[in-house]
Assembly symmetry: C2
């Protein structure tokens, strides 16, 4: 029946055991795991085997290790995952374009969802962005987009977005220019009013200016 279970894959069993241990001990995100030596004793396996499992989980971004400090359950899931996969699968310029497009897919969907949901588009946070724009004259581009994703409540979409945004480098993580200010205001205003199409139009206009940066 269950081929995956009947397969040996001792190394995967350790991963599973680790998960059980985390659940049993009720280890929360950011908290410390038992040391490698303790784990190897408790699980009845060699330290090497424990390390192989831990290293795998680290590559997935599920745990963090600090030299001399210990091993910790990842607080913010840095899914280096996409990064690693991209290293193997996505190599050329075309792929970089794909990353940008895919990121925008999630952003646009967020705009759609928010625009169409009364309880989301009337959130105070959008007003706060307006105020910030008026007073300081500028705002961090990435912050706005992140807030869009957070607001939708889709945690998985948010996680994927984080990865894609990280891959994009600092092109997003910067303050808005004078030219962008008006566009962003239009986008936010349209969103608040539930004008999905207008909001998306402003977004696309915004992204085309980002493109040229």
């Amino acid at each position: 029946m269950d081929k995956k279970t009947e397969q040996k894959k001792v190394f995967l069993e350790i991963v599973q055991q680790l998960r059980q241990l985390i659940k049993m001990e009720k280890i929360q995100a950011g908290e410390k795991l038992p040391s490698e030596r303790v784990l190897s004793e408790r699980l009845g396996v060699g330290r090497s085997s424990v390390r192989e499992a831990l290293r795998s989980l680290e590559l997935l971004g599920l745990i963090e290790t600090r030299h001399g400090g210990g091993t910790f359950l990842a607080s913010t899931h840095k899914h280096q995952l996409v990064e690693i996969l991209s290293m193997f699968i996505l190599e050329d310029e075309k792929s970089k374009k794909d990353v940008e497009l895919t990121r925008q897919i999630h952003e646009m969907e967020a705009i759609r969802v928010i625009s169409c949901t009364e309880t989301l588009r009337t959130l105070p946070v959008w007003d706060s962005f307006f105020v910030k724009l008026e007073i300081e004259g500028t705002i961090n581009c990435r912050d706005i987009l992140r807030e869009l994703l957070i607001t939708t409540g889709n945690r998985l979409s948010l996680k994927i977005w984080f990865q894609l945004a990280a891959y994009d480098g600092d092109r997003l993580n910067r303050n808005s220019t004078e030219d962008e200010k008006l566009i962003i205001q239009t986008m936010l205003k349209s969103m608040q009013l539930g004008y999905e199409k207008e909001a998306l139009k402003a977004y696309e206009q915004w992204m085309s200016t980002v493109q040229s940066i």
Copy 2:
């Protein structure tokens, strides 16, 4: 500048070196990699370190190892990845819903792109689906959705979709029911004619029926 590079992460460097080696040696999918002992010598590191890197890549499904046989570049990407991630991250019902929603985000975007692109929406493949539906009376749901993603040409979006669809289990990987037939036909026809809204409407209708399965 480049924080990620200046970070130590020796273990990640080995992963990178492995990638270079694969590229240099022009190792194709399914082919054999050098043995662990050879790798450890060529890379100038201990066998344990090589193994930690290999085990990580195995967890990602990028390589396969056969006891006594050797290590091979994965031919078909088995998405153990989703399985592992789901084990740690996706535990509650809310998360499962997120997976479904996120998958649909990519599917809907594909429909939009195809509907708005003359060269994509007039592709012969859509006619082939029509024919298949007429002759056999049914069609694999997953096949259609996959074709949508493939057609857009966004490989990253496709990759993400694959993983999400794999997590969804066999709810998609099945033949369409009689009820679905008409909806799918409507969706495809609307797409071919460039009626984005109608295509999306049919898609949403389709998904709501899938929901109840």
